[in-house]
C-alpha cells in the first residue's frame, strides 16, 4: 500500500486537522491543527492538538539515528522513571516532558508534549496595553529590571510580578527540576530563561525544551546553550572542531553554571557577568571574551574591574544595576557563599560549582531568614534579615519596628553536646514552625509528606510580647525554665531562652536572641 499515513481532512477553511502515527505505540495516532502558521522555535514547528491539551512539535531538520534513539528513550524509559513511580506527580509540575514521539510518512519526527499550564500565560501582561496578554511567561520578562521599572513604557502589570519571596519559591522549583535530572544522570544542556517558564503569581516554574537532554557519554548534545547562560569553558572552546578532545560540551557542570545565573537573575534582575569591563575593542569579540575566557563576576569580592559603571547603565535598569545599593549579599549568607562558589571559585573551574541540591537547600534556608516589610508600598514586600542590630528593608529603607526574635538551631552532636547548625529562623508575626525545623531527619524537599507540611505551631506578637503557640509538639520543653510546654499552650519567647523542640532522635534545640531591641 503506497497510501500516505498522514491523513488530511478539512473542517474550516484555512484550518486543517492532520493526523500522525506514534512510533512507540503501533496503531496510535495524534491529531493536530495545521493552519499554515505553526509556532516556531529554533528547531521545531509546533502545532496544537484539536482540544489544545497537547502540542505536536515537528523538527524541521531530519533527525539522525542517535537523536531518534535519544528522543525515543526520553518519551519511554525516562518518562516512566520520572513520572510512573512514587512521587512522580510532583515532577510533572516541574517539567513539560514529551509523552510520545511521532513520525510522518515523509520522515519528519515530532514530539507530543502537554500544553503549558494556563498559569504560564499572561492574564494581564503589560501594565498599560494588551500587548502580551495571553502570551507565554518566558523567564526573561521577570529576569530583567526594565519590565518592573514603574516608569518604563513596556512594564509588566504589578499583578504579574509577585513579590521577592515568590522568586525564592520559583528558584527552589527550578533547582529541584535540575537536581532530579542530574540524579538520573541527565543534563539539560540549554537551561535559560527561554526554556524555563515561570509564574510569580502561583510561584511555579516549569522546565521546557526537554528534548535537548544529554546523557553524558551516550549522546552528543545538540546545542551549546543560549547566550547569557553558556558556561565560560564552552564559549572559550567553541571555535574548536566538534570532535576536538579539548573542546568543552554542555553537560552537568554547565547546567550548574546556567542554574546560578538564572537564580541570580531572578533575585537581582541583573546578569552576574555583564559588567563594565571591556575585554576587546571589537564588540562581538568583547562579548565572547566577557562571557567566556575572561568572564568575571561583577561583584567579585576583590577584583572590582567588572563592576557595572553607573554612568553607562540604562536608567530603566535601576536600582538593580547598582551593585553598591543592592549587593548580592542582600540574598543572605547561604546564597552569598554559593554565589561565591559559582561565580568566583567555580566560574572557570566547573567541578567547584555547587550542585543543584545545595542551591535548593540554601534557597529554602534563606526563606527562614526572611521578614515581611512593614511598608505596604514596598515593591518587594520581603527581605532577608541582614544580621544587624537595627535591620531595615534594603529595597525601601523602612526600618523594622519592635523586637525581632532570632532562633538559632542546634543539633545533638553527642550526648549533652549541642552544636550550631548554621541554620537560623527569623520570627515574624504569625509565622509557622514546621517539622523540618524540629527534627534534623526531616528534610525539606519535594519528598515531604502532606502530614509533614502541616505546621507544628506558630509565633505571634501577643499582648506586647512574643509567644510561641504549640499545636503539635508532644515533647516541647523550655530548658531555661525547665518546664514542659504541652500541646495547645504557649511559651514566652525571650532573649537568651533555650527550647528543646523534641526529645526524639534528631530533635533540635533552639536558642533565642532578640534583635532590634
Amino acid at each position: 500500500m503506497s497510501q500516505s499515513s498522514t491523513i488530511t481532512f478539512f473542517n474550516e477553511p484555512g484550518k486543517t486537522v492532520k493526523s500522525v502515527p506514534s512510533i512507540t505505540t503501533p496503531g496510535k495516532n495524534y491529531q493536530y491543527v495545521d493552519n499554515g502558521e505553526p509556532m516556531r522555535g529554533g528547531m521545531k514547528d509546533v502545532y496544537f492538538g484539536p482540544d489544545k491539551s497537547y502540542v505536536v512539535a515537528f523538527y524541521r531538520d531530519k533527525q539522525d539515528y542517535n537523536s531518534r534513539e535519544r528522543l525515543k528513550k526520553l518519551v519511554t524509559q525516562y518518562y516512566d522513571s520520572f513520572f510512573n513511580r512514587e512521587g512522580g506527580e510532583y515532577y510533572k509540575e516541574l517539567y513539560c516532558w514529551p509523552t510520545d514521539m511521532v513520525e510522518t510518512s515523509d520522515g519528519k519526527v515530532g514530539l507530543v508534549v502537554p500544553t503549558y499550564n494556563k498559569n504560564f500565560f499572561f492574564k494581564q501582561g503589560y501594565a498599560t496595553s494588551e500587548g502580551i496578554k495571553g502570551k507565554e511567561k518566558q523567564g526573561l520578562w521577570f529576569a530583567s529590571a526594565k519590565f518592573r521599572h514603574p516608569q518604563f513604557a513596556l512594564r509588566l502589570d504589578e499583578s504579574e510580578l509577585g513579590n521577592w519571596l515568590s522568586y525564592f519559591q520559583i528558584c527552589v522549583k527550578i533547582a529541584r527540576g535540575v537536581k532530579r535530572l542530574h540524579a538520573a544522570g541527565l543534563a539539560h544542556s540549554d537551561l535559560s530563561y527561554k526554556n524555563v517558564l515561570i509564574d510569580p503569581v502561583s510561584k511555579s516554574a516549569t522546565i521546557i525544551d526537554i528534548d535537548g537532554l544529554v546523557v553524558p557519554g551516550l549522546y552528543p548534545p545538540d546545542v551549546i546553550g543560549t547566550a547569557d547562560f553558556i558556561a565560560p569553558e564552552v564559549l572559550a572552546t567553541k571555535h574548536l572542531a566538534l570532535r576536538d578532545p579539548t573542546r568543552k560540551h554542555a553537560n552537568r557542570t554547565t547546567d550548574l553554571h546556567a542554574l546560578p545565573v538564572m537564580i541570580y537573575l531572578y533575585l537581582l534582575y541583573r546578569h552576574p557577568l555583564k559588567g563594565g569591563k571591556v575585554n576587546s575593542l571589537d564588540t562581538e569579540q568583547d562579548d565572547l571574551l566577557s562571557m567566556g575566557e575572561k568572564a568575571l563576576f561583577i561583584e567579585h569580592p576583590t577584583d572590582h574591574s567588572n563592576q557595572p559603571k553607573m554612568d553607562q547603565v540604562s536608567k530603566w535598569t535601576l536600582p538593580w544595576a547598582d551593585v553598591a545599593k543592592l549587593p548580592y549579599t542582600i540574598t543572605g549568607p547561604y546564597l552569598k557563599a554559593l554565589f561565591d562558589q559559582a561565580f568566583v571559585t567555580g566560574l572557570h573551574d566547573p567541578n567547584q560549582r555547587p550542585n543543584a541540591d545545595q542551591w535548593e537547600q540554601a534557597l529554602l534556608k534563606t526563606t527562614d531568614l526572611m521578614q515581611p516589610c512593614s511598608n505596604p508600598k514596598c515593591q518587594q514586600k520581603w527581605f532577608v534579615f541582614d544580621n544587624t542590630t537595627s535591620p531595615t528593608c534594603p529595597f525601601c529603607g523602612t526600618p523594622v519596628k519592635g523586637t525581632l526574635p532570632v532562633l538559632d538551631l542546634y543539633f545533638e552532636f553527642k550526648p549533652t553536646v549541642w552544636r550550631p547548625e548554621n541554620h537560623r529562623l527569623m520570627v515574624y508575626h504569625n509565622q509557622y514552625l514546621f517539622q523540618w525545623h524540629v527534627n534534623r531527619h526531616v528534610v525539606r524537599n519535594e519528598k515531604l509528606t502532606d502530614e509533614q507540611k502541616i505546621p507544628v505551631g506558630y509565633f505571634t506578637f501577643h499582648h506586647n510580647k512574643w509567644v510561641f503557640v504549640n499545636q503539635k509538639l508532644t515533647s516541647l520543653k523550655d530548658l531555661t525554665e525547665d518546664k514542659e510546654i504541652p500541646v495547645n499552650t504557649m511559651v514566652d519567647i525571650t532573649d537568651g531562652k533555650k527550647l528543646l523542640l523534641s526529645t526524639e532522635e534528631g530533635g533540635r534545640v533552639v536558642v533565642i536572641t532578640m534583635a532590634n531591641k
Binding site: K194, A227, E284
Partner: protein, 197 residues
C-alpha cells in the same frame, strides 16, 4: 513605491514593531531606525529603542536614490551605533534590511563603496515585485530575497521574517561560528519568498 506596496510596507513595519514589542529579548536589545529613499534619502526615524519607537508616515514616490540611501545608512551607522572603547562597551553590529521595488536612478556604486566600509551583522535586500533588479541587489549583499509581486501579503510575510530574525535562539553546536550574542543566523524564509542564491 506607491499605492498598495507602500501601504503594505507601512503596515509591515507596524506589525513588526508590535511583534517585537512582545519579545522581551528584542525589547532588551534592539534599536530601530528607518531610512526612506526616493528623489532623496531621508532618515525618517533615528535609531530608537523599541519601547519609545513612534511610527511615522513613510513616503517614497518617483525615483529610487539607492546610492544616496547607502551613503546615508553609512553615516547613520557612524553616528548612532556606539563603538566599543576601552572605557565603554559598544553596540552589536547592525542588521540592515533594504527594500526596493525599482531600479536605482542615481549613482549607486559610490554609495555601495561607502556602505561596504561599514560592518554589519548581516544585510538583507528585498526586491519587491518584478520591476526590482535582484541581480543588482546581489552586488550589495549575498542575502537577496525576491517577492514575485509587491502585494500586501508577500510584504507582510517579509516583515514577519525580519521580525523572526531579530531574536535570540539557542546556539547549535555545529555553528561553532562567531555569533554568541543573539543576532544569530537568519531563520529559514517562509515558503512564499524566494531567496536568490
Amino acid at each position: 513605491m506607491t499605492g498598495e506596496p507602500i501601504e503594505a510596507v507601512k503596515n509591515g513595519v507596524q506589525v513588526m514593531i508590535s511583534s517585537l514589542r512582545q519579545n522581551p529579548q528584542a525589547i532588551e536589545t534592539a534599536f530601530i531606525s528607518i531610512i526612506t529613499f526616493d528623489s532623496e534619502a531621508k532618515q525618517v526615524v533615528p535609531l530608537t529603542d523599541l519601547a519609545s519607537f513612534q511610527m511615522v508616515d513613510i513616503r517614497a514616490t518617483g525615483t529610487t536614490s539607492l546610492g544616496e540611501a547607502l551613503k546615508l545608512v553609512s553615516t547613520c551607522i557612524d553616528n548612532e551605533v556606539t563603538k566599543t572603547t576601552a572605557e565603554q562597551k559598544g553596540d552589536w553590529k547592525p542588521l540592515v534590511f533594504i527594500m526596493t521595488d525599482g531600479i536605482p536612478t542615481d549613482d549607486w556604486q559610490i554609495g555601495l563603496e561607502e556602505f561596504r566600509k561599514r560592518k554589519t551583522a548581516f544585510t538583507v535586500a528585498c526586491a519587491a515585485g518584478s520591476a526590482a533588479d535582484s541581480a543588482l541587489l546581489k552586488l550589495i549583499t549575498e542575502n537577496v530575497v525576491s517577492l514575485d509581486t509587491a502585494d500586501s501579503q508577500s510584504i507582510a510575510k517579509f516583515f514577519t521574517w525580519v521580525s523572526a530574525s531579530i531574536g535570540v535562539s539557542s546556539t547549535k553546536v555545529e555553528d561553532g561560528g562567531q555569533e554568541v550574542t543573539g543576532m544569530g543566523e537568519l531563520p529559514p524564509p517562509p515558503a512564499e519568498l524566494n531567496i536568490v542564491t
